[in-house]
């Protein structure tokens, strides 16, 4: 019997190779390739006066040096602005190598290719760039004051400005609703920068086949299909002559969705020009100063509410730090502003953001993508309301929840996919009940008193979120059963550790009724599947999972049709069990899928014994119709796409108990509880792992991680010695519980899970520290020294 695989915690197919050193990450490829290194700007803002390479050209092993002036016209232009939006009136992107002005420390200025990386770096050290220093702009407030400009042609440093407003049922605007409310509060919140920081940085390896005039590029990316199109466009190559493959990728978390990176077009260009394989592997310092960061926002909040804590009007103005360029558009602040209402019914809501340029590394999505900031804002607001009313924090949230019978619920906003923000399903009151029970919310007062009696300070915090997942436009899946009975599944989006090979194999095995071992899955390889969007926004399982299920259903239908003929049965009486098509109730009457695959492909040549059964003299075909009937195709395979009407909305709630040291102000998380709802689970083990990892990144963002820019735009902590990512000793044990409200939008009833864990953590920890200390927390992350200072400043 085929065991049920969908929903089971089956072990990962990826692990055997990754556990034995047989994974293939970018830098494991390209033996014998030339290697590139880059001279990068040491200044945050400067004009390039001269580049002198004379001291460098005699280095043994040097192959080539390129500056902007060497680039062909298409490549010399600014890189694509990937997601244009009408509100992004002043979008700006960099050229692959700096043209006249550098706008952040780390911007690539000169590309060096040499026999190996050591030599390439030797050459870089001998190249002198003469800079005229310009005044740098650092931080959103300095940008907003606009005494100096990051881009001379962007007035006020404002790249984008967007307002969305949802009026109350009575037709009031948010500001009017606040004015009319019994209670009002106004405050400011700040979140600092962090970054995806995968342990494998970016990297590109390009191989030009001069005989075939074709290009193969390996890149550590979250979207190989779109990199392929960008490379073909930038290098003027016919698309079929370019293939792009994401090999094993050592983490992404958002940063690798940006493309094409300068290196992704420069390395292939150099490989073609030099007629030799070229690769570039990003080092850690490069990753800090030349990839992307996220999170930094300043938020000004005004809220009006009634005696029960119901929000009658919420007005939020956001200053969003976009860094030096906007290649990924304004997706991050759009997500912040549209996901801010979370699980709540706000009477009226107005949100306005200005996205400003600064002379720092560009800001693009990092796991959560603007949601941690949104949730920080909404949940801090809920806590302030509770404090003002002297109410329980969970009671205020309950008073505002969308109820289970109110779905689909239209928030009245336009989401990041340009489509209406309509929640599909959820059970927020149920989720909060589970969370309160899990963490022991109602008995915490007593626990706190007991701790206080021992001189200990502990506090409890809560945070709720709704996360739009599975955004379109589409993904596809291809499924082929070969004459050996094996099932080959491919999808275009990529993997960075989410276990897609396992989860997608589970879906295919369940849909087709074959043993898991017979299924293999390929992702992110344009040779196998050319149409895809990419892996981001917790969309892979929803999008490709459903596309693969639909493709399998096509294959299944075809298999039943062919088998019905062979078995002289009605297709409706057939089932596929353990890789065999058989008549329901008569297990003896069966034909293996392998044979069905053979029969599906009428052959002239018998390349093996099985194939002989489908050749023209084997006597299997009818003479009244052509060997491939009208409307049929040879082969037992199917391709289908899943394109959702709109996003599906996962949700969750977290709670934490923290202890703060009365003397040192050290903050320790004693307990961390998660209730999570991502609809039906494909593999609960993998979902749990995603939550654990997300919470750990959230803890980093709440307590440790920040990008320490000085006023000159120098990143002072651009190393793992100074940028503090949590080790095992900093991450609490995560207690989880699952609620499953299936999505009505897709055949599998699933919602995304990849980002969930990280989203509410800063809000939860701020809430808990505030509870422990009785001091308002308005800025995250919070370090012991900052808490110490807050204590001293407290009245």
């Amino acid at each position: 019997m085929t065991t049920k695989l969908f929903g089971e915690p089956v072990r990962r197919r990826e692990d055997p190779r990754l556990l034995t050193g047989q994974g293939r990450y970018l830098d494991d490829l390209g033996e014998g390739a030339f290697e590139a290194a880059f001279v990068r700007s040491p200044h945050a803002h400067a004009r390039i006066r001269d580049i002198d390479v004379s001291a460098a050209i005699d280095v043994d092993g040097l192959v080539a040096i390129y500056t902007w002036e060497d680039l062909p016209p298409l490549l010399a232009e600014p890189l694509p602005l990937l997601i244009p939006h009408p509100a992004l009136t002043h979008g700006r992107t960099a050229t692959p190598l700096a043209r006249d002005v550098v706008r952040h420390v780390g911007e690539p200025v000169v590309m060096v290719v040499a026999r190996d990386r050591y030599l390439a770096e030797d050459v870089c050290a001998l190249i002198t760039v003469d800079y005229e220093l310009l005044k740098p702009v650092v931080g959103v407030e300095e940008a907003a004051q606009s005494a100096h400009l990051v881009h001379a042609d962007v007035p006020g440093n404002v790249g984008a400005h967007l307002v969305q407003e949802v009026r109350s049922a009575a037709g009031l605007g948010a500001r009017e609703a606040i004015e009319a409310a019994p209670h009002t509060l106004a405050f400011r919140l700040d979140i600092e920068r962090s970054a995806s920081m995968p342990l494998e940085g970016r990297g590109v390896c390009a191989r030009w086949d001069a005989d075939d005039r074709s290009l193969r590029v390996y890149t550590s990316t979250q979207t190989s299909t779109s990199v392929r199109m960008a490379i073909a466009a930038k290098l003027g190559l016919p698309l079929p002559k370019v293939e792009v493959i994401a090999p094993d990728v050592g983490g992404g978390f958002g940063v690798k969705i940006v493309h094409p990176w300068p290196e992704e077009v420069l390395v292939p260009w150099a490989a073609i020009l030099l007629g030799h394989e070229v690769k570039w592997t990003e080092d850690r310092r490069e990753h800090f100063v030349s990839s992307a960061h996220e999170r930094a926002q300043t938020q000004f909040v005004r809220v009006g509410f009634d005696d029960a804590g119901r929000v009658l009007g919420l007005d939020v103005t956001i200053l969003h730090d976009h860094g030096a360029y906007t290649p990924y558009g304004i997706i991050v602040p759009i997500i912040t502003s549209t996901q801010l209402p979370g699980p709540y019914k706000l009477g009226a809501y107005r949100v306005e953001f200005s996205s400003v340029y600064t002379n720092t590394v560009q800001v693009t999505p990092y796991r959560g993508a603007g949601r941690p900031q949104a949730v920080f804002c909404m949940e801090r607001t809920m806590d302030r309301i509770a404090e003002h009313l002297g109410a329980d924090r969970t009671a205020v949230r309950e008073a505002n929840f969308i109820q289970p019978d109110e779905f689909p619920y239209d928030q009245g906003l336009i989401f990041q996919d340009g489509r209406p923000l309509i929640y599909d399903s959820g059970d927020y009151p149920g989720s909060l009940r589970m969370l309160k029970e899990l963490i022991g919310w109602d008995s915490f007062d007593r626990t706190k008193e007991l701790a206080a009696a021992e001189g200990r300070r502990i506090g409890i915090g809560v945070g709720c979120y709704v996360e739009g997942t599975g955004v379109g436009p589409y993904e596809g899946g291809h499924v082929q059963v070969t004459s050996d009975g094996r099932v080959h599944v491919s999808t275009g989006l990529t993997s960075q550790g989410q276990g897609h090979e396992t989860a997608f194999a589970q879906i295919a095995a369940s849909e087709l009724g074959v043993p898991l071992e017979r299924v293999s899955v390929v992702t992110g390889d344009t040779r196998r599947f050319g149409y895809a969007v990419g892996t981001f926004a917790s969309r892979a399982a929803v999008m490709s999972g459903n596309a693969i299920a639909l493709a399998c259903r096509k294959v299944r239908e075809k298999a039943l049709r062919i088998a019905a003929e062979a078995l002289e049965a009605d297709p409706g009486d057939l089932e596929i069990v353990d890789g065999e098509v058989r008549v329901v109730g008569s297990p003896g009457v069966a034909v293996p899928l392998a044979t069905v695959a053979v029969l599906s492909n009428p052959l002239r040549y018998a390349f093996d014994a099985e194939a002989g059964r489908a050749t023209q003299f084997a006597g299997t075909s009818s003479f009244d119709r052509p060997p491939v009937a009208e409307g049929e195709e040879p082969g037992l395979e199917g391709r289908d796409y899943y394109s959702p009407i709109r996003s599906t909305f996962a949700s969750g709630m977290h709670a934490a108990i923290v202890e703060t040291d009365p003397l040192t102000a050290e903050i320790r998380i004693l307990r961390y509880a998660v209730v999570h709802d991502c609809g039906n689970l494909i593999n609960p083990m993998i979902v749990e792992g995603q939550i654990h990892g997300g919470v750990a990144q959230g803890v980093g963002g709440a307590l440790y991680e920040r990008m320490a820019y000085d006023e000159h735009g120098q990143l002072l902590n651009a190393s793992f010695m100074d940028f503090l990512m949590p080790y095992a000793t900093e991450v609490p044990f995560v207690e989880t519980a699952h609620l499953q409200t299936p999505s009505p939008l897709n055949p599998l009833g699933i919602k995304g899970a990849g980002e969930a864990g990280v989203i509410p953590v800063s809000a939860v920890i701020a809430s808990a520290v505030e509870d422990a200390e009785g001091i308002r927390i308005s800025r995250m992350p919070i370090s012991p020294s900052e808490l110490f200072d807050l204590r001293r400043a407290a009245p």
């Binding site: 692990d15 990754l18 050193g21 990450y25 342990l199 276990g499 993998i686 654990h692 793992f720």
Partner: protein, 160 residues
């Protein structure tokens, strides 16, 4: 720059390499010997991805010059499984407990934990946390890594 001839015993095999004096042991293992299972995450000794066993002890191969490893024995992730390919108890435990996601930090954890459990076959929770606290993982949140270490200790005990 003159290359230096060195001899390393890697995963039980004697390997002779001519390498520039400045070449890192991590680069030598990966690019001269083709053992790309040892990964490089920071090149300044913090992340632990490049951890290998040098004469049985965990070291950061990115903080060591290949030339200084001359005459020593090195075990990399490629050398942890039995010669017949059977995964080691630590490798099996990581698979069983979902102790890895992207797998980039995993070889460093496997080498670290292999040495940890050899020296302390039944570590407490605290000892496990301390034992893996020199390795960064950005995917798992460590919970399943800690679980994997305890499970590996169990497997070793069951099989001894």
């Amino acid at each position: 720059m003159t290359d230096i001839a060195i001899t390393l015993t890697v995963n039980g095999v004697v390997r002779r390499v001519e390498t520039p004096g400045r070449r890192l042991l991590s680069d030598c293992l990966r690019h001269d010997l083709g053992l790309t299972g040892t990964h490089v995450g920071c090149e300044h000794g913090v992340c632990g991805c490049c951890t290998v066993l040098l004469d049985g002890e965990p070291v950061r191969s990115c903080l060591m010059l290949a030339a200084t490893a001359d005459g020593h024995e090195i075990t990399t992730v490629e050398g942890l499984a039995a010669p017949d390919g059977t995964l080691s108890p630590v490798q099996r435990a990581f698979a069983e407990c979902h102790g890895l996601q992207c797998g980039f930090c995993t070889p460093g954890f496997l080498c670290t934990v292999t040495a940890l459990l050899r020296d302390n076959p039944a570590p407490t929770d605290e000892e496990v946390l301390e034992g893996v606290s020199g390795n960064l993982c950005r995917c798992t949140g460590y919970q399943n890594i800690v679980k994997s270490v305890h499970r590996a200790a169990e497997i070793i005990a069951e099989e001894s």
